[in-house]
């Protein structure tokens, strides 16, 4: 592996030097690539070059040029980010995946990446996954991606990293409108208005997005993705009261209705059910910034958000209710932040906040509230203009689990003005989610029961009382609530940013994440009277992910740019490695029935992780024709899938090529043509190579065509 990496490295460098030798830097500079201003890394504005962390910025221009309407499609084109479908969903084998898909970062599941909008978290994870369709992309200023634990600033869930979606800040009067039409009768209408008057700035944004969905498997009744319609509305008001005080108020509203229509088999007889699933997400955010002087700023904010997901399906034959699932999640967070000192040379940031979260679900024990308080500190130091140090820590105290201290230190050293070495070590944690704590769910079809760790005692007694557990079984030794510990990680990132010239930057980052206390399901040592198992949750596994991410950006001139990225990843379960070492892990060939010990080289790691993935972005602008060509490609290498084509070898780990799903390439191209200063037409093809995998990648439709008409009025 090391040799491979080295080869790639040398190759890239060689490629690079040859390119730079051949091409003379053009006169019209595009600005230094590392001068972008970001806020996620330090909670204050900073240049990328001053941040000692692996950070990546997706600009509004790139989003606009892609012509895409889906955030997840933009994210997956970035280095090291791949779409992970929830395996519970893909197991439905062509039926609509109710759990959706999310972004896997540094080999960690979507549940381990924190998704923020303007620095505040989205809530409402469905089996760990946030539906990214909840974020319309029409008013995104930039997307900031930080790899490695960011718990020291943002708390729970930021183990793999943070994706912060920064929405636009109105600076002048403008209005824009976009019509998007695509395959599958997909229609997107987006409108935005920015009004700036004296000290006030108002941004209004609305989006309507609908599609007929699609069907990848005609042999199964119903569609793979059901028809849906989304509405989004955002408003942001900022008011500069005076030189010292600034007030911002923003609100976000999203609703999606999905029209479900599929077949079920109650009592092994086919039945059609129809209904809908309504997902709603709303938030309100108020922030007051008070600048006492150049060296002291107070920022007070209140964030509140609510999320709900309600599904009702009815039997077609008699319109009777077949199933109703409801989930409502609410979060209230007041916070105070104080910035002391000079940014970036000696800034000290501290803050404290309080979270109140409440969740209600048909599948959870009644009313589950959780409150937590937190405090964080962070110090930036610049030494001789060469060394940047950021040290920080955060302490979270929750009512349900022990307090969590998450420190982090990051150092950047300018070896040369254009060569910055970066390294960071941080701790991250993920609080046990509501499902793991409060779930009380009995599968109506098979009859097993899942109990959250905090619901175990009451759940067991209730089962026994209602005769579902044999009265002869002594449940007492098990009937006490287990206090789940948060899942914890230590993340190390180290690498460099090499600015070859004003047009080109080459970045390398090596990473390793050690995760312990992973929460897994286990079954209790006795069954129910219907002979089905009872499950609960427990801290069990230890895994690690490690690898390398590298990215090359080259702006040849204002009209021609290229960006390429590559990730190498290894992700393994430490328990499995120990079992292999101890000679305790066997596999049985499902064809020959020969049993052998699993060897270390046979063990390929965790399922659903590609060893390699790569991405490419190419952009060409022709001034004469006022036309831009924008091409993106993503290669996702082969990966393992448990139970692929029914393969089972009794080892429960990925150790056989027959469990390997082949890699694939997604290729997109968009052409944008400016008609005049106001009008623009875009046409594009997504998934040009027409890749589909109806079972494992139900999120990917084949080749898709789209056309956009954009109108922008500026004053």
């Amino acid at each position: 592996m090391v040799k491979n990496l080295l080869n790639i490295f040398i190759f890239t460098i060689a490629f690079f030097s040859s390119v730079s030798a051949q091409l003379k830097p053009s006169q019209d500079s595009t600005g230094k690539l590392l001068d972008e201003i970001v806020v996620t890394a330090t909670r204050t504005e900073n240049k990328v070059s001053n941040i000692p962390l692996p950070i990546q910025v997706i600009s509004a221009k790139n989003i606009q040029l892609s012509g895409s309407q889906k955030l997840i499609d933009i994210l997956q084109m970035q280095t090291g980010l791949v779409i992970a479908n929830n395996p519970l969903g893909t197991a439905l084998q062509g039926y609509p995946n109710p759990f959706g898909d999310g972004i896997q970062m540094q080999g960690l599941d979507p549940a381990y990446t924190l998704i923020l909008v303007d620095g505040e978290p989205l809530i409402g994870r469905n089996a760990g996954i946030i539906n990214l369709a909840r974020i319309a992309i029409g008013n995104i200023k930039q997307i900031e991606i930080i790899r490695g634990p960011a718990t020291c600033l943002y708390g729970s869930d930021a183990l793999a990293g943070v994706i912060n979606i920064i929405t636009e800040e109105p600076v002048k009067n403008s209005a824009s409108f976009q019509t998007h039409y695509a395959t599958n009768n997909t229609l997107g209408l987006t409108g935005e208005a920015n009004i700036v008057h004296k000290n006030m700035a108002l941004e209004l944004f609305a989006n309507r997005y609908s599609s007929d969905g699609y069907d990848l498997d005609k042999t199964i009744y119903g569609k793979t993705v059901d028809p849906f319609i989304d509405y989004t509305a955002n408003a942001k008001l900022s008011y500069k009261i005076n030189d010292k005080n600034k007030f911002t108020l923003s609100t976000r509203f999203f609703t999606e209705t999905q029209f479900n229509n599929y077949q079920i088999f109650p009592e092994s007889q086919p039945e059609i059910v129809k209904g809908n699933t309504v997902e709603t997400d709303a938030s309100l955010f108020g922030r007051l910034e008070h600048k006492v002087n150049d060296r002291l700023t107070f920022i007070g904010s209140v964030y509140t958000t609510s999320y709900s997901n309600n599904a009702s399906v009815f039997l077609q034959k008699n319109d009777s209710l077949y199933e109703k699932i409801q989930l409502a999640d609410f979060l209230l967070r007041p916070e105070l932040q104080v910035n002391i000192g000079k940014n970036p040379s000696s800034l000290f940031v501290t803050g404290a906040g309080y979270n109140y979260e409440n969740i209600n679900s048909t599948r959870y024990a009644p009313v589950s509230g959780m409150s937590s308080g937190y405090i964080f500190v962070q110090k930036q130091i610049q030494l001789k203009g060469k060394t940047n140090i950021i040290a920080g820590a955060r302490y979270d105290k929750n009512t349900l689990y022990p307090g969590q201290l998450s420190p982090k230190i990051a150092i950047a050293y300018k070896l040369k003005p254009n060569f910055i070495l970066k390294g960071s070590v941080g701790a991250g944690y993920k609080a046990p989610d509501f499902r793991q704590q409060f779930l009380n769910f009995t599968n109506s079809l098979v009859g097993y029961t899942l109990l959250g760790a905090d619901e175990l005692s009451q759940g067991l007694y209730m089962l026994q009382k209602t005769g579902q557990i044999d009265p002869g079984i002594n449940i007492a030794p098990y009937a006490h609530n287990l206090q789940l510990s948060p899942e914890k990680s230590i993340g190390v990132n180290a690498g460099f940013d090499y600015t070859i010239n004003t047009h080109a930057v080459f970045m390398v980052n090596f990473f390793r994440n050690d995760i312990s206390n992973l929460i897994e399901t286990y079954n209790l040592p006795f069954n129910k009277t219907n002979n089905q198992a009872i499950f609960s949750y427990m801290n069990l596994d230890k895994v690690f992910t490690e690898g390398m991410e590298t990215n090359l950006s080259y702006n040849f001139n204002r009209n021609f740019s290229l960006s390429a990225g590559y990730q190498y990843l290894a992700a393994k379960d430490k328990e499995v490695l120990q079992q292999i070492k101890d000679g305790k892990l066997y596999k049985r060939d499902p064809v020959t029935y020969v049993t052998t010990l699993v060897t270390k080289s046979e063990y390929k790691g965790l399922y659903n992780r590609s060893k390699e993935n790569a991405n490419l972005r190419f952009q060409y602008h022709n001034i004469f024709y006022k036309t831009t060509v924008f091409i993106t490609a993503k290669y996702r290498g082969s990966y393992g899938y448990s139970g692929l084509n029914g393969f089972q070898d009794g080892s429960s780990v990925y150790d056989d090529d027959r469990e390997t799903v082949n890699g694939f390439v997604l290729l997109n191209a968009t052409v944008s043509k400016k008609i005049d200063s106001r009008w623009e037409i875009q046409g594009g093809i997504e998934n040009i190579l027409n890749y589909t995998n109806k079972l494992l990648m139900p999120n990917i439709f084949g080749r898709t065509y789209f056309i956009n008409v954009n109108f922008k009025l500026k004053k």
Binding site: L445, G472, F526, N527, N530, N531, F535
Partner: protein, 200 residues
């Protein structure tokens, strides 16, 4: 079978002959080596269906009406095994769950055989727990697969010895993810020692 026995005896005679003149002591082969047989049985996909009973001696399923007899050695329904003794039957059966390679076990242990102390299917001698038991169950694909490197040594209802390994569990009558299959197909291999010894 008689021919086999005769040839075994002949071999034994030759070996004994060799031994008498050889310098090194060679252990005598079992007088009656067990033969490994692969078989498969179908049981309903239901934890409430009555047990399908199997006899190692006859290498066949025994009618459930014979449950109060020593004609069967183990019973199977869904993922639950019973052993013919104590709470489950009138025999003297017992079972040991072994971890390792089936082929390498050449002698059945003399002691340590577990038996069913209750008819409650949740506390049987063979652990049928979802993660702790003899099989892996994939919650997402609903596939059942016997854990590799796990097999059973049985003392049969009439005090003979057999070893048995479940090789695969298949489905039939499977309509898709929203309904369970109707039938489980168990494929297993076993060696039965008819001479009453524990040699395999």
């Amino acid at each position: 079978m008689t021919t086999l026995k005769l040839s075994v005896l002949a071999c034994a005679a030759i070996v004994t002959g060799l031994m008498s003149c050889g310098k090194e002591e060679v252990p005598a082969p079992p007088p009656n080596p067990s033969v490994t047989v692969t078989d498969s049985i179908e049981v309903p996909f239901s934890s409430t269906a009555s047990y399908t009973l199997f006899s190692f001696k006859n290498g066949a399923v025994v009618a459930n009406s014979d449950s109060i007899s020593t004609d069967w050695d183990f019973g199977l329904t869904y993922v639950n095994f019973i052993v013919n003794s104590h709470a489950s039957g009138p025999g003297n059966g017992g079972v040991i769950t072994e971890i390792g390679l089936y082929d390498t076990l050449s002698l059945a242990p003399a002691t340590g055989y577990a038996y069913d102390t209750t008819t409650n299917a949740t506390q049987l001698a063979i652990n049928n727990g979802l993660t702790t038991g003899w099989y892996n169950y994939d919650l997402t694909t609903h596939n059942l697969s016997p854990k590799a490197g796990l097999y059973f040594v049985f003392r049969t209802a009439d005090n003979h010895y057999a070893k048995m390994e479940v090789l695969s569990v298949g489905y039939s009558g499977y309509n898709g993810p929203n309904s369970p299959p109707t039938t489980l197909i168990y494929k297993f291999q076993y060696s039965y020692q008819s001479d009453g010894s524990g040699n395999f």
